[in-house]
Amino acid sequence: MAEVEETGKLMFADLSDVSISGDIPVQGEINVPVGTPSQDKEYSTLDEPVKDTILRDLKAVGKKFVHVMYPKKSSALLRDWDLWGPLLLCVTLALMLQGGSVDRKDDGGPQFAEVFVIIWFGSVIITLNSKLLGGTISFFQSLCVLGYCIMPLTVAMVVCRLVLLGGSWGFSFIVRLIVVTASFSWSTFASTAFLADSQPPNRKALVVYPVFLFYFVIGWMILTFSPSA
């Protein structure tokens, strides 16, 4: 050990006559590696006004709605998934399906809880089904896509309720039938466009069929909604 100290002293012998007086300003740049921009945002969002936070989320949800209306293969729905949109759509649909039929206990349309359970439970089962068949999409991404694609059906529900103001049968029924059929096909087509790529090629039909059944049942619930007499 003594040897090391000796060599150390020898190494610094050249510097022994350098004196440091006062402060020597140090120049240069210090670069700290920064994480991805989103990580930065998370830290800085605490300071922004609440309005900004809410508006940003609303804009993300709105952007996804637009992507559903024009279903091209966009990654926005898949990568930046969120479940606000599906929740909003599900609650709206379930609320609008209330207030029909005279008997609320029996023989009536689906209760709020039934609609909720069908939509969420159905989405979970379809997602599990696609994962069990070997799909590569993640659980929440699939829930997000299925939930957002309910949007055409919610729009159809609004239209149906308006049409029902002018009577239940005859012309109004034909209009409602056309609207619901069109929107259910749109929903199925839109969600297939987003989900199809992640499935193994010889099982695509096995994954698409439950999606078709899911939107068919929701379309049936919308079509058979009959307001109280």
């Binding site: 089904n129 239940s168 695509k204 049936w220």
Partner: protein
């Protein structure tokens, strides 16, 4: 010094390729791991390249052995039950609507790889087709009467779901349990696994889907005819499957088992028809659903 294991492996590979170059059609046996015994039913380390005739049997043996490797708490365990392609599912559905004598559904169509996709989604589709068609037929029946106000009758979905899923799981459980208990003494042929029993019951329910849609047509004679056709087709699939399993037993047990299977199946179809497709003149009748759901039914009379 000892040759390192890597050297030994490399040499073997060269030898094998030389031999294969000489005779490309030879059957080869490759083993990983150092076990000297090579039972065919061992867990998936052994690959056998054989000619096509033997390959089917061997692959089914291996599949049976391989399936039990993951525990039931892993995702892969359940993934093994969904290992089917679209064409396979369509073939199985076709096999369930065309029962030919001597064609055992489990042996011929399933070929020892039962799946849960078919039974599950057939049951779900059947639940909704029963509820929706029943609703439509009630509506069409009451079209004339002025006091009728259309009702979606959504609670029927819940009832249909309970009945169909209980039938599709409890009855195969009972049949499988009974067959396994009886087979304990014989051990000649491998009995059906629980999954295969559930699978055959699930696929046999497929014929009821188009039947329930056709039940919308308001002709009583047509409905009874359809029930008869559906029961014959669906029942014979079940009988042809389970008869080979019980025929080695005593005559009375064999007949009793097959008769029970048929009777339960008949009860299901007649019960569904009477509950979901009531004619306009009858008041709602308490359903004749299978015994184990009778308790639920008696609470539902309106």
């Amino acid at each position: 010094t000892m040759a390192s294991p890597d050297d030994l492996k490399f040499q073997e590979f060269e030898e094998a390729t030389d031999l294969l170059l000489a005779d490309p059609g030879a059957s080869t046996l490759s083993m990983s791991g150092s076990s000297s015994t090579a039972p065919a039913g061992a867990t998936g380390d052994i690959k056998l390249d054989m000619s096509d005739d033997e390959e089917q049997e061997e692959s089914s043996e291996l599949l049976r052995g391989e399936k039990q490797t993951s525990g039931f708490w892993t995702f892969e365990y359940y993934q093994s039950f969904f290992n089917v392609d679209t064409m396979q599912v369509l073939d199985r559905v076709k096999g369930s609507v065309m029962p030919l004598p001597g064609r055992n559904f489990i042996k011929r169509t399933l070929q020892s790889s039962p799946d849960l996709y078919g039974p599950f989604w057939i049951c779900v589709t059947l639940v909704f087709s029963l509820a929706i068609s029943g609703n439509l037929s009630t509506f069409l029946n009451s079209l004339g009467s002025p006091h009728y106000h259309y009702r979606p009758q959504f609670h029927r979905v819940t009832i249909a779901a309970v009945v169909i899923f209980l039938y599709a799981w409890l009855v195969p459980l009972g049949v499988w349990g009974f067959l396994t208990w009886r087979q304990r003494e014989e051990r000649q042929q491998r009995g059906y696994s629980f999954l295969e029993t559930v699978c055959v019951y699930g696929y046999s329910l497929f014929i009821y889907i188009p039947t329930s849609v056709l039940w919308i047509l308001p002709f009583e004679w047509l409905r009874w005819l359809l029930i008869l056709v559906a029961m014959v087709i669906s029942g014979s699939v079940l009988v042809l499957t389970f008869w080979p399993a019980v025929r080695d037993d005593t005559k009375s047990t064999a007949f009793a088992t097959v008769a029970t299977i048929v009777v339960l199946h008949a009860l299901l179809s007649i019960g569904c028809k009477m509950y979901f497709f009531q004619t306009a003149t009858c008041t709602p009748v308490p359903t004749l659903a299978p015994n184990h759901t009778a308790a639920i039914m008696t609470n539902k009379t309106h």
